[in-house]
Amino acid sequence: MMRLLVLASQYRVLIILGLTLVVSALVVPGYLAPSTLGLGLDRAATIGLIAIGLTLLLIAGQIDLSGGAVFALAGIVSVILQREIGILPAALVGILVGAVAGAINGALVVGLKVNSLVLTLATMLIFRSLAHWVTNSQPVTGTDIMLSLALAKIYLEIFTIRSALFIVLIVLLHVWLTRTIPGRNVFAVGSNPAAAKESGIASDRIVFLGFVFAGTLAGLAGVLQSLVTNTGSPVFGSELTVAVIAAVVVGGTRLEGGRGSALGTLGGVLTIGSLTIAMEFQSIPAYVQQVVSGLILILLVVLDRAVTTKGRAPGTRPALVRDKPITQGGNV
């Protein structure tokens, strides 16, 4: 029984994805047509690109809640600059904005030695304000509608440029995480930064670069979204946070660092994507969709708690809960 449970938890991403697809196919007519799946994949790519960055960060024991705001900001910059410097340079600058935002997060977390949850909550507010600031809270439009059509075009009956890019990137991340030494080091940093430091791993640098990576990908997702819709809006991405975290968590990456996989995230993203499309095809209102993604998130985190081994050796407490100082006195 226990072995079965462990096995189920190991392959739970596949099980959940399979169940989602089966139920969706039963409920939604024509769900398994390539064009529907392609649409779902394209939708999932937005969540997925941000999730790629978050997977790496979570494995390193950190979190970035500002992804949705960076997504909006990068998209806006890439649209506004189109008139001045052309579409491609503008897109590159947009991605750069994402990288810079990530670098700010990383520098503050590493430099101030503060909890990344709270810090990125604050920078989320800052980046979102900047997005409202530069656009005067109005959506902005780009110059070339034809480009949007090209980007939204479906190749091989299922892939758009965006979804193909997402899949290539996540496979690359998988290879990097599992086959290279720097990749392995990320896991070491996430499960025990002090021990990682002792063994000569530059924990701070890995955490910093992790934030830059996450910011860059959120920026890339935002730029692509803006190009596809030919619009940049300061409210873009505000509902993404829960979906992205849910996707990564469905994929088995632990919120406490040190454990996770890119392929798991791929499964998680596909699950969330197929679920979203199924609900949209049934024209279920947005707030019910919110309830569903929130429920999935909570349910999976609780299940994760229940299934995975309970005791951890002292001193290996995960980064997101570890920040407790040793020095809190009782004399307050």
Partner: protein, 332 residues
């Protein structure tokens, strides 16, 4: 270790603690009072409308609604619960229910029931964080999404209007020249202050946030205390939402958005430790006064909302950084 040795090391440690926290005390208390005075001084010079009875009363009234949430949020931070992101949903729940139930069961029972149902969100948060051990940010983000979705579904995503003029007049009215909302805020703040600083529950809260394992070893019911902090915040948010609904006589599902940030900003700027174990209600309210006065000056000066958000975000980053820096000082 012998008793004598323990005593000596205990004395030394205590000495370090008091030295550390005296510095923390001095800097955060005096610093905040000076900052408040500076804002008042600047505001009086910059705008003739600032230091008038009417404007101050406005600040006080708008401060009261978020202030009630601040009192609850103080418990969450002190107990080491990072932050409660379900506040907007809880406020919306309180506002919509207290107006929506009026025609059915009368204004006072409606208000009480609304606050109780809002407390239910807190109970869910509390169980997930305190007993299941889920990261508070993830739990409250998920529960908040679910709660808001349910509330939106319940009212069909539209606005609810008040139907009882007497309750509206009471909420907008004054007692002895002071707005009722302000009086309720003061009452909540006083209860919160005494509960945190004088009662056994408050001592448990501080102990749990300061050193979870030590508190657990000293037979403090740590799980219940941690869960309780989220219930307290939810009840406070419910009261706040109910009052907001009664004052505006209308409630929409997004009525509470942004309140979580205002509350967190106030508590953090007030010098309550983000890591837990240290803080008080007066500190948090001092932080609130500072932030509210600053916002008021910005509004009077015609500073646009996005820039205000930018300033608030920067304030959180600064305050969190200072918290970390001072904590390090306390250790050295």
């Amino acid at each position: 270790m012998t008793d004598a040795a323990m005593e000596i090391s205990g004395v030394n440690r205590n000495d370090r603690f008091t030295r550390g926290s005296r510095l923390v005390d001095l800097l955060s208390k005096a610093g905040l009072v000076l900052a408040i005075l500076a804002v008042i001084l600047y505001g009086s010079f910059a705008s003739p409308a600032f230091f008038t009875a009417g404007n101050m009363l406005n600040v006080l009234t708008s401060m009261s609604i978020v202030g009630i949430v601040v009192v609850g949020m103080t418990f969450v931070l002190v107990v080491g619960g990072l932050a409660d992101l379900s506040v907007p949903a809880t406020i919306a729940c309180g506002a919509i229910l207290s107006l929506g139930l009026q025609p059915l069961i009368g204004p006072v029972p409606a208000f009480v029931l609304a606050v109780a149902l809002a407390g239910l969100i807190g109970l869910l948060n509390g169980v997930l964080v305190g007993y299941v051990g889920i990261n508070p940010i993830i739990a409250t983000l998920g529960v908040g999404t679910i709660g808001l979705g349910i509330v939106q579904a319940a009212v069909g995503g539209v606005i609810v209007y008040g139907s009882n003029t007497a309750s509206a007049e009471f909420a907008k009215g004054r007692l002895l020249g002071i707005p009722v909302v302000v009086l309720i805020f003061l009452a909540v703040a006083l209860i919160g202050h005494f509960a945190l600083s004088r009662s056994f529950w408050g001592r448990w809260t501080l102990a749990t946030g300061g050193n979870y394992s030590a508190a657990e070893a000293s037979a403090v019911p740590v799980k219940a205390v941690k869960a309780g902090a989220f219930v307290i915040t939810a009840l406070a948010s419910g009261i706040s939402g109910g009052l907001l609904g009664l004052t505006l006589q209308s409630a929409r599902p997004l009525i509470g958005s942004g309140y979580e940030f205002s509350a967190i900003t106030a508590v953090v700027v007030g010098g309550v430790s983000i890591i837990g174990g240290f803080g008080s209600v007066p500190r948090a309210i001092a932080g609130l006064v500072f932030v509210q006065l600053l916002t008021n000056v910005m509004v009077l000066q015609g500073v646009r909302t996005p820039i205000q958000g930018f300033v608030l975000g920067t304030l959180i980053v600064g305050a969190v950084g200072m918290d970390a820096a001072l904590r390090k000082r306390g250790v050295a």
